[in-house]
Subunit: 152 residues, 2 copies
Amino acid sequence: MFDSYDRKILNTLQADGRITNQQLAEKIGLSSAATWRRVKALEEAGVIRQYTALLDAAKLSRGLRAILTVSLLRHDADSKKLFEDTVSSYPEVLQFFSITGDADFMIHVVVADIQSYDQFINEKIFTLEGVGQVQSHFALRELKNETTLPIG
Amino acid sequence: MFDSYDRKILNTLQADGRITNQQLAEKIGLSSAATWRRVKALEEAGVIRQYTALLDAAKLSRGLRAILTVSLLRHDADSKKLFEDTVSSYPEVLQFFSITGDADFMIHVVVADIQSYDQFINEKIFTLEGVGQVQSHFALRELKNETTLPIG
DNA sequence: GAATAATAGAAAGCTCATTTCGCGATCTTC
DNA sequence: GAAGATCGCGAAATGAGCTTTCTATTATTC
């Protein structure tokens, strides 16, 4: 599917999304034209979803990271859909998964401080219809926080 | 701390990390020279940590996302440090937090399939010294998976 | 309200992106 | 194993964008 050049391109772009095409070409050992065509093909195929700037949450007053697990009281399609759409729309929510295990959902939230968190959970979670068990965990330390997928 | 121009720059670069400086300048309403200086200052200050390409995990045979919670049997500094350094070094581990609650750590892992996960947890987690309770949750659906911080 | 410090924009030179073209390697079909 | 097709490469040219320097303008401080 992907050859060694593609893998090098993907790894390099994960490490530096703003590298110039020429530098990328030199790094992987192809001409700049060939490199450019491969990058465009990877974007076209959706392998590269997006380019983004990763920011420092603490420097932007978003120092508190919380992980919530939530169970719903009812599991009919409508209740679930409403819950999913509403939670997805919250900007404080960075990750939101439906998961296996005791809880139904895991929500990853970034806010300024514990006061903001209190406000978030009271106004934006507990007010939702059909919310059952909710557990909050706070990140004490970020030992690793990456987006870089290992490319095999 | 940050004025309206800085916030616009950060939001725009989060949405498109490879936008040209000229397009960015036009979008936020400053000259390209002024915009360029602000972007460099934000990079210098570490507000912008990194530019990266976000890839599609499924298209790269990394279709299984698991969340583990782990407790350690001993909590002396050396045991913890060894555990933290080792787990951080695993490429399958994208996020790794020390958290509040029953468990000590939360680990976010991306692998190809359930066989790879079995291999990962048996060879790379259970083999570590002092690992106690481990719980695995699997992501059934990714309802939201972003890196975009809300800028206030 | 004058002095000082920041910050803006214009212009210019330099770098880079993107396209077009032709070549060579590899695969397919007979 | 030869003819044709296909694919992907690199060279070169053009247009677009980056980065710096210089000057003007706008805030800030006393």
